[in-house]
């Protein structure tokens, strides 16, 4: 399809516009439009037209969704014109010119299954995509497959995908052990859990062994407990004997006394107590009666000596009250003069203040000269207002002057600023130079990267074992693949194992042989058993004897004497024959008897033979295994030598070597790329320096210096701009402040005038002069305040003086009244002295009265006591007589003898009872007779030693039992802890968890590994299938784009065998340039060429679609831009080409194309449709 026009209604910034194109083959359509004029919108509209407007398209930013519509007038492949539209409605249907939906297959016929992604990635190209493509080519390192894929469809870099897959695999389970990776973490967990399961397991044997030990300990504890119990019983018995010995003796003594005094009375304690009490009572009562008579006589004498003044005692309360009041009266009398002086001072002060106010009133009437509180408060308020208003009015002119001065200063500074210069060109240039960072830094980084590469290369080389020939030689070295090494190593290990096995078998067989030989020797040493030969020989000897006898007895051929002699020697022939029979039978019997032994010997011999055969076989196998091992080992050594490794190198050494070699090769490649990048950067920076120098008008060629100059120039311009902006802001602010100051002054003056009117009213109320200033009025107010204070003080002093006088007068009259009522007292002048005398006299009379009352009480008590004592004496004597009668005696002495005998009987009975009770208590329930027998078994002196011995036995057994119990407890506790521990279950679960993780991780990593291998294979296939045709076309287009500077693009294998893009320059046909060595612009052209070739390739099997290039020539110089236009012109014969640009010179360049090639697209308004 080719576009004749594209009509955009309310789409993006287009309201209603038609853009016209020329659909003819060979035409390059160029639409010139400035920036922001809607080139990108146009591109999007074309794609939306074909694939639908998104539900939430961003193209509604000006007109909204309503009426959004894109219409295309096209010429189809068969040349027929068609018009169709896409409207932003639900369903996004395609409609024809009559707004009726078209057949859904209509677009499919045009698109042929191509989707939006494909269109955007193949047929639409803008500056950014072009630059991105160039970068992708650089990153691909020239990889042909990646380059073709990248240019021909924009799919993600397939090699990156491969690397991503490998990275994902290695993040899970890299072949080299990396502890942080999940596989190895899980592996470590698995192994640890496995070990833990083994160590935490309690084996049944272990458990039962422990249980057996526990049972033994328990038995030992029981035995010791029994021993301790026996010792304990012994101790109890001995202790009992020791306890009861003295009580047995006491019991015997008491019983003996009681038997010898049967007449001793049992009076008990009561008669003795009664006798003693009666005797003591009688003596006490006699003495008491005598003392009571004496006391009565003495009391009567004392009571008659004391006299009391009862009149004075009757005024005791009044006198006490006067004594209390005397202190207050005395204080009042002392303070009175001071208070009077203060009062006089107050009067003088008020008089003085009244004079200050101009009043002649006496102090007592001073209140009449004072104003009301409300008036005074109002006056103070007015004075306060005045202070604020006066300050505002006075400061206003000064502020206005300051603002005017500042405004003039800002105007002057602005006038002095120089005009701004235009640095836009310089800014654009600097922006270009600094895309990607600071040039110097980039160069330093590039140089640093190169140095790092060198260092890394050295480090990598240093890690290569036994290698000193340098990196290139190492890279050139041919070493078998790692699988070969592994296989060989596995072979060696296997053969080594075989050797070990065969040697072990040989040793085993040799040992068995020696054992069999030893057994045979042992059997043989047990005694010689005649063998079959000996038996045969004996039987032959017997039979030859029989033949001689037979010949002699039954034939006519008797044996010769010599024959007989040969057989029988010197004994008769029959005897010799009998001996021969016996000998043969004996041998046969012996063999029969020892047949089992013979069998064993035979078996031993057979075993020896068999062992010898097996030993020989084992030797043979060992020799063969060693030969195989040596052979494999020689192959290993040959490979080692070929790889520059020593003969003793092992697989880990080889792995290390190969890994190190790979790292060296990677580092070499990285260094080469970095080196190319550095050189390219240097060239670009030189170009920038020249451009900068021209713009700045400098002769300098150092880019850094030029950048500094440019920065300085831009910085100075920026500073000037900033200064101007700042000054303008300050000027505006000064104008605003000046206006504010003038307004403030006017307001202050108005307020002050109003205040003065109110002030005059106040002065009139105060009665002050009309022109009095607030300051003077404020002094008057102060004086009035002082008068009020003094009046309050004077009033207070008058009250206090009156009170003091009244108190003194009350006290004096009270004293006089007392003196009048108590005749006989001395006259007084000082009432305070009189009161003191009264108080002293009152104390004396009170003491006399107290003494008199005590003496009278004593007399009454003495009389009563004398009568009672006489009566009690008589009763006591009657009681004493009754007690003597009870004891059975006439006198007190006889009664005492009978009581003593009775006491002795009671003591012995008590000792007897006590002994019996103690024996019951200490005898552990045994009878007195049993206890006596126990005590008689050994002497009392042996008690302690016997108890000590038993205690020692008890202690020893007890300690042993405790030790056994503790050991058993510990052991039981340990076993319980072991039994309760769930560590082994936890470890087993952990082991399973680790296995699960291992399983999943391995499967996932293997999937990534497989995908990586598969993708690698597919990429190789793409490279092989797409390389030849596309490469030829790529080469042709690139040659045109570079104005024949490059004559060929081809692919050559790199060091690793991977196909790599190389470019050949016209002037250096023998040199090969790789992508990393191209300038950025040339890389862009290479990518454009790749895209062109890809489009051509695509169009081989698909309907054409317009190619839209949006400012794709921006980075091309004029020659190459013209060359690109020619290439696009060629492409336009296959499909329509539309170039969008904001550079007029592109249009000018296109004018240089052959006549009729250029079509400058026009935009024209159309009627709005809704």
């Amino acid at each position: 399809m080719r576009l004749t026009s594209l009509i955009l209604n309310r789409y993006g910034n287009y309201e209603a516009e038609r853009i016209c194109f020329d659909p003819a083959p060979g035409k390059v359509n160029i639409l010139l439009a400035p920036n922001s004029a809607g080139k990108s919108v146009l591109r999007g509209a074309f794609v939306d037209l074909l694939f639908g407007i998104h539900d939430r398209t961003e193209m509604d930013f000006r007109f909204g969704y309503s009426g959004m519509k894109v219409t295309a007038e096209i010429v189809q492949q068969d040349g027929s014109p068609t018009t169709f539209s896409r409207r932003k409605t639900r369903g996004n249907v395609i409609t024809g010119p009559d707004d009726q939906p078209l057949d859904p297959g209509f677009l499919h016929g045009i698109l042929g299954g191509r989707d939006r992604k494909l269109l955007e990635r193949l047929f639409v190209l803008d500056t950014e995509a072009l630059r991105e493509g160039g970068r992708a080519l650089l990153e691909s390192g020239g990889d042909v497959a990646s380059a073709l894929l990248s240019a021909a469809g924009g799919i993600r870099q397939a090699r990156s995908l491969k690397r991503e897959l490998e990275r994902k695999r290695d993040e899970l389970a890299p072949e080299r052990r990396t502890s942080s990776r999940p596989f190895y973490q899980a592996l470590d967990q698995f192994l640890q859990a496995r070990r833990l399961v083994s160590s935490e397991t309690i084996r049944p044997d272990t458990w039962f062994h422990q249980q057996h030990e526990l049972e033994e300990l328990e038995e030992h504890r029981r035995q010791q407990n029994l021993a301790a119990e026996a010792a304990s019983a012994d101790i109890a018995r001995l202790e009992r004997v020791r306890r009861v010995r003295r009580w047995l003796a006491q019991l015997v003594d008491a019983k003996a006394w009681l038997e010898t005094h049967p007449d001793a009375p049992r009076l008990g304690p009561e008669p003795r107590k009664a006798l003693e009490a009666a005797r003591l009572d009688s003596a006490t009562k006699t003495e008491t009666a005598r003392l009571a008579a004496e006391a009565l006589e003495h009391a009567e004498r004392n009571a008659s000596d004391v006299v009391v003044n009862t009149n004075l005692l009757g005024y005791a309360d009044q006198i006490k009250q006067l004594v209390d009041e005397a202190g207050g009266a005395r204080t009042a009398q002392a303070d009175l003069p001071g208070r009077r002086a203060e009062y006089d001072f107050c009067l003088a002060r008020i008089r003085d203040l009244l004079r200050q106010l101009g009043s002649d009133l006496p102090p007592e009437r001073a209140a009449e000269a004072l104003q009301t509180r409300a008036l005074l408060a109002r006056t103070r308020q007015r004075i306060k207002e005045y202070a604020e208003l006066a300050a505002a009015a006075q400061g206003a002119p000064e502020r206005i002057a300051a603002r005017e001065h500042e405004l003039a200063e800002r105007e002057r500074q602005l006038a002095e600023l120089p005009a701004d210069a235009d640095h836009r060109i310089l800014e654009v240039l600097l922006q270009d130079i600094r895309v990607g960072g600071n040039p110097a830094t980039r160069r330093q980084e590039a140089e640093k990267s190169l140095a790092e590469c060198d260092a890394a290369l050295s480090a990598c080389l240093a890690r290569v074992p036994s290698w000193s020939a340098g990196g290139d030689a190492l890279a050139a070295l041919t070493s078998p693949a790692i699988d070969v090494w592994r296989r060989l190593d596995a072979d060696i290990a296997e053969k080594r194992a075989e050797v070990t096995t065969s040697r072990e078998r040989l040793e085993d067989e040799t040992a068995k042989l020696e054992q069999a030989q030893t057994e045979l020797a042992t059997l043989s040493a047990g005694g010689t058993i005649p063998d079959d030969i000996a038996l045969g020989r004996a039987r032959l000897h017997r039979d030859s004897g029989w033949r001689l006898i037979y010949r002699r007895a039954f034939t006519s051929d008797p044996p010769a004497a010599a024959e007989e002699h040969e057989f029988a020697a010197d004994v008769p022939l029959p005897l010799a024959f009998e001996r021969a029979i016996n000998e043969a039978d004996a041998i046969a019997d012996r063999r029969a008897v020892d047949s089992e032994f013979l069998g064993r010997v035979e078996a031993a011999r057979h075993a020896v033979t068999e062992a010898e055969r097996r030993t020989e076989t084992a030797k043979q196998r060992a020799r063969l295994a060693e030969e195989a091992l040596n052979q494999t080992r020689r192959a290993w050594v040959r490979l080692c030598k070929a790889s520059g490794q020593g003969e003793d190198a092992e697989l880990p050494d080889i792995l290390t070597f190969l890994t190190a070699r790979e790292q060296v090769i990677e580092t070499l490649q990285r260094r080469s790329a970095v080196d190319h990048a550095l050189k390219s950067l240097v060239l670009r920076q030189e170009e920038w320096a020249r451009a900068l120098a021209a713009t700045l008008g400098e002769q300098q060629s150092d880019l850094g210096v030029l950048l500094g100059l440019a920065d300085r120039a831009l910085s100075q311009a920026a500073r000037r701009r900033q200064t101007r902006t700042d000054l303008e802001t300050l000027r505006t602010q000064a104008i605003r402040e000046l206006r504010d100051a003038v307004a403030t002054q006017a307001a202050a003056n108005t307020s002050l005038e109003a205040w003065r009117e109110r002030w005059r009213g106040v002065l009139a109320e105060l009665g002050r002069p009309e022109i009095e200033e607030p300051a003077e009025t404020e002094a008057v107010l102060q004086t009035i305040g002082d008068i009020q204070t003094e009046l309050r003080d004077m009033s207070s002093l008058m009250e206090r003086i009156g009170g003091m006088n009244a108190r003194i007068e009350r006290f004096t009259s009270s004293v006089q009244e007392i003196y009048r009522q108590l005749p006989g007292l001395i006259e007084f002048r000082d009432p305070f002295g009189a009161v003191r005398e009264l108080d002293r006299r009152l104390d004396q009379e009170r003491a006399s009265d107290q003494r008199h009352r005590i003496l009278r009480d004593s007399l009454d008590k003495a009389r009563a006591a004398a009568a009672a004592a006489t009566q009690e004496l008589m009763a006591s004597q009657v009681q004493l007589h009754a007690v003597l009668t009870l004891i059975g005696a006439d006198t007190i002495e006889a009664a005492a003898q009978r009581l003593a005998l009775s006491d002795e009987r009671a003591a012995f009975e008590l000792r007897r009872d006590e002994a019996e009770a103690e024996l019951r208590h200490a005898g552990d329930g045994y009878s007195t007779e049993v206890l006596r027998i126990e005590a008689a078994q050994h002497h009392a002196d042996e008690d302690a030693a016997r108890i000590e011995a038993a205690s020692a036995r008890h202690k020893e057994a007890n300690e042993a039992a405790q030790r056994a119990a503790a050991d058993a407890s510990r052991m039981r506790q340990g076993m319980d802890q072991q039994a309760e521990a769930t560590g082994v279950n936890a470890a087993a679960a952990d082991q399973q968890a680790a296995i699960a993780l291992l399983s999943r991780t391995l499967d996932e990593a293997l999937l990534y590994h497989t995908a990586s291998l598969l993708l690698s294979q597919a990429l190789d296939a793409v490279e092989q299938s797409g390389g030849s045709g596309m490469l030829r076309r790529l080469s042709t287009i690139f040659q045109k784009l570079t104005c024949d500077l490059y004559v060929r693009v081809t692919s050559e294998p790199d060091d690793t065998g991977k196909a790599d893009l190389v470019m050949i320059q016209r002037d250096f046909p023998d040199e090969r340039q790789r992508i990393g060595q191209l300038s950025e612009g040339t890389r862009d052209q290479l990518f454009l060429a790749l895209r062109m070739a890809a489009i051509e390739d695509h169009l081989e099997s698909a309907e054409p679609l317009p190619f839209i290039g949006d400012d794709i020539l921006q980075t091309f110089d004029d020659d190459r831009a013209l060359a690109a236009l020619r290439v696009l012109s060629d492409l336009s014969r296959r499909t329509q080409v539309i170039v969008l640009t904001h550079h007029r010179h592109v249009l000018d360049l296109a004018d240089r194309l052959p006549d009729g090639t250029l079509f400058a697209c026009q935009r024209e308004p159309v009627a709005t449709t809704t």
């Binding site: 049944p204 039994a979 399973q992 968890a993 999943r1000 995908a1011 598969l1014 695509h1098």
Partner: protein, 422 residues
């Protein structure tokens, strides 16, 4: 003859850890570790609380290669609870516990508990009920002869139970031991054959009843669904009911989510949620150990392929969100989806993507098989016990052992298709 009830269990595999569960800090690890014990406790509690008349166990009380004595001690403690309650416990040894070191030392706690002889069939006659239990333990791990043939004739006038550890013919996923046929068992004349060895519950025959109760607690993903024991009710010498009581504490489930062509990632997650909700309901509050398998050619394949690990984690998180902490343990998320038709159609495109995809399709597996195998072997050689631990069914092990990696390559191809479509 009055009514009596007995429990028939088998394949307890005490302390055998649950397999295939990766460590999950959010999951109740203790509960999972002790699942087999807890299941047995549930059975014992049920037997004591419900006062069943006796319990029979048809072998494999624990694993033979598990030597920890604590397991035996625990078993004895549990049996003691039964015998203390006056409930006899009669068991035989199966292929797993025949050679166990624990077995040789195990002593039953009471006369009411008995493990039947392994030299010849033995009959245990209950004292309090007219019930005879005939059985023979495995003498070694590999008993292949038909033990049932030598079982004694039924005791007349008694209820006869045959206790046998056998596969009863060949059964997928189980080794064949003490092989016999249903017909052979049927003709012995017993009333009930209490079988063990097959971990899936199954009634092979009624009248006489020949029953596999399944194992007591599922231990891996191919032991899904409810697990427990059979409760048999006998009235007047006739079985009137055989029902299953579930004692498992962790319920295994394989959740297959088949995605339709148009299903995108959100739709896939929604389907996972719905499927999970159903399984959680079936688990009735038990911890669910689930394998989530997504399959089908679908639009979501593209998003899954972008980062398989992240997709798995997303689905795990989804599962956790649906189930809540402590109620689910996602054993594995298997993303076996395929590219949608739209992605597959990319192959027809005339651009580079189409070219690359065609190349992927036409790639020769033989050329990369060595590379795949080499990697698999290299990883498996990192530790000696690795192959055995992971198991012969693991894909990496299969590939390393020479199995053609066709399925793996197809998976890789699907993965690449998804990634190239991004």
């Amino acid at each position: 003859m009055a009514t009596f009830r007995f429990l028939h269990c088998a394949d307890l595999h005490l302390d055998s850890p649950l397999r295939g569960l990766e460590a999950d800090p959010d999951a109740p690890a203790e509960r999972i570790r002790g699942a087999t014990r807890e299941a047995l406790q549930n059975l014992i509690d049920f037997a004591v609380n419900e006062q069943v008349d006796f319990v029979v166990a048809a072998g494999d009380l624990y694993d033979g290669d598990w030597p920890d004595w604590r397991t035996g001690r625990f078993l004895i403690a549990q049996i003691r609870q039964l015998t203390d309650a006056g409930i006899p416990f009669i068991a035989i040894r199966g292929n797993h516990d025949a050679e166990s070191v624990i077995t040789r030392r195990l002593r039953m706690p009471s006369e009411l508990a008995r493990v039947l002889d392994h030299m010849a069939p033995e009959t245990y006659r209950l004292a309090h009920l007219p019930v005879s239990i005939h059985g023979q333990s495995f003498a070694t791990k590999a008993v292949t002869e038909n033990l049932a043939l030598a079982y004694p004739a039924p005791d007349p006038e008694r209820f006869n139970i045959g206790l046998l550890h056998s596969s009863v013919g060949d059964r997928e996923g189980h080794d064949t031991y003490a092989s016999c046929s249903v017909e052979q068992l049927r003709t012995v004349g017993y009333d009930y054959w209490a079988l063990g060895h097959i971990h899936k519950a199954e009634v092979l025959h009624k009248d006489p009843w020949i029953v596999f109760p399944g194992n007591l607690q599922g231990r891996k993903i191919n032991e899904t669904g409810p697990k427990g024991a059979s409760l048999v009710t006998v009235t007047d010498g006739k079985i009137v009911d055989v029902s299953t009581k579930y004692f498992d504490v962790v319920r295994w489930a394989r959740i297959d989510v088949v995605l339709a062509e148009e299903a995108d990632e959100d739709s896939a997650l929604a389907q996972v949620r719905a499927a999970l909700a159903g399984e959680l309901e079936n688990a009735e509050g038990r911890l669910l150990a689930a394998r989530i398998v997504l399959s089908g050619a679908c639009a979501a394949h593209e998003a899954f392929s972008r980062d398989i690990g992240a997709a798995r984690e997303k689905i795990r998180a989804e599962a956790l969100a649906v189930a809540g902490h402590g109620t689910i343990w996602t054993e594995m998320v298997d993303i076996a989806t395929g590219p949608s038709a739209a992605i597959r159609a990319m192959e027809e495109r005339q651009d580079a993507t189409g070219q690359l995809i065609r190349a992927l399709r036409e790639a020769n597996p033989g050329e990369i098989t060595d590379g795949i195998r080499s990697y698999a072997n290299a990883m498996l050689d990192k530790a000696n016990p690795l192959r055995q631990a992971i198991g012969a069914e693991n894909q990496t092990v299969l590939v390393a052992q020479g199995e053609p990696p066709d399925h793996l390559i197809q998976q890789a191809r699907d993965l690449l298709l998804g990634k190239l479509a991004v």
